[in-house]
Point group: C2
Chain length 247, copies 2
């Protein structure tokens, strides 16, 4: 997996802990290009280290800038994250949409970045103006406050998802494949034979419909190869026990 | 918006702080049904309150259970979150897939829930066995550790997304609508008239292709109604300034 993706740009971040949480969230989802614009407490900041939980590669490669223009200078597509709508004419994207736009650019060799504002105040309009689009996380309108690290986590997560195969096909391990009809029929025959021996299908004129009901249950159960082996063992065990108790 | 969704079930959670973070993440994305199975430090736990950041409605309605079976007894679909693959025959879902499965059930009036294990050890196999499916978050394989609160955040976020309109259509505010061709042509005519007056289109035989190049630029710029008004003001201002300087 190539660790390439949009730059994450924190503008005027206040808490070193949040820079650390950002680094961790980024690296969890394969992002490594962290840029800081005027971090309040300077850089490097020892408060960032514990929260980064080992995402050292991100902290070690942080670039620091004096203003937002310099931080985005090499980028061809910039998204600004805001908590509230701005009176600006920009497309407003959800995180997965912004991630998709970044992926489309990066696939063409263009550089993208995502701006995040200070914890308390968010981005200034003059920074939002520099961006191609606005990113907003849709939340419960009655409780919409999410913190900086969480917002970066959601955006990084959506970035990583754009690199996953569209169709998530579970691979079947040995024994986990759905049973073939032959295996299923072998089980049904076994079960029906033992039930017949024990007089389960009574009265005789109901036998066919009783068998059909049972077969529907087994089909619907979506047994795996291994399940069939287990269940045939169950039948044998029950029958043996009955034979024993009849001895 | 009806605040209805899957139950979030923490099995043997250790840190009150993580229960608080879980409550906050849930309520950010409209979930309120939090269930605790054998919380290490009992319940209520004052350590949960600061991290919940005001998601009091979730903390106030916590239900506590002695075992996982009781906690899922009323549910018809249960997903178990695990960090590593288990040797069990279950479908493995990504968060958005699990959220989609829960939504499909809830839309039919069926109750769903998602299990999360203890911080250190995760879910025991005996709890995973009780579930219909396994949920795993896909992460950077070199740095895959995400904490309990973050995992609940991602799952709750994906749940909320299932309730958003599939097509995210930005609503245009007044002035933000793309300009009509009439407005655009008015701008182009204005621009071309002034450029012509100032001898921009030279030599004359190149005038048509120069105009066509410029028109392509204006069309591609995707101007909004308000932009057109602004730009016509810009032209007028430039022309006025020139006339003044010629006085």
């Amino acid at each position: 997996m190539a660790l390439v993706g949009p730059a994450i740009i924190l503008v005027a971040p206040q808490m070193g802990e949040n820079i650390g949480a950002t680094a961790r969230a980024m690296y969890n989802f394969g992002l490594t290009d962290l840029r800081l614009v005027r971090p309040r407490d300077g850089w490097p900041n020892p408060d960032a280290v514990p929260m980064a939980s080992g995402a050292k590669v991100v902290l070690d490669n942080v670039q620091v800038f004096g203003d937002t223009r310099d931080a985005v200078a090499d980028l061809q597509y910039v998204v600004a994250t805001t908590a509230r709508p701005r009176d600006l004419i920009k497309p407003v994207l959800l995180p997965h949409e912004a991630a998709g736009e970044c992926r489309a650019r990066l696939d063409k060799g263009l550089a993208a970045g995502i701006l995040f504002g200070a914890e308390r105040s968010g981005l200034a309009n003059e920074d939002v103006v520099l961006s191609d689009a606005i990113l907003q996380v849709a939340t419960n309108p009655d409780f919409s406050s999410i913190n900086l690290g969480q917002t970066v986590l959601l955006v990084s997560y959506e970035w990583f998802k754009t690199g996953l195969p569209k169709e998530h096909v579970s691979e079947f391990k040995k024994g986990e494949q759905p049973a073939t009809r032959e295996e299923l029929f072998g089980f049904m025959d076994h079960m029906e034979r033992e039930l017949d021996t024990n007089g389960f299908f009574y009265p005789p004129e109901k036998k066919l419909s009783m068998m059909q009901n049972l077969r529907s249950i087994w089909i619907r159960a979506d047994f795996r190869e291994q399940d069939i082996r287990t269940l045939r063992g169950v039948i044998s065990a029950l029958v043996t026990s009955k034979k024993k108790s009849n001895d």
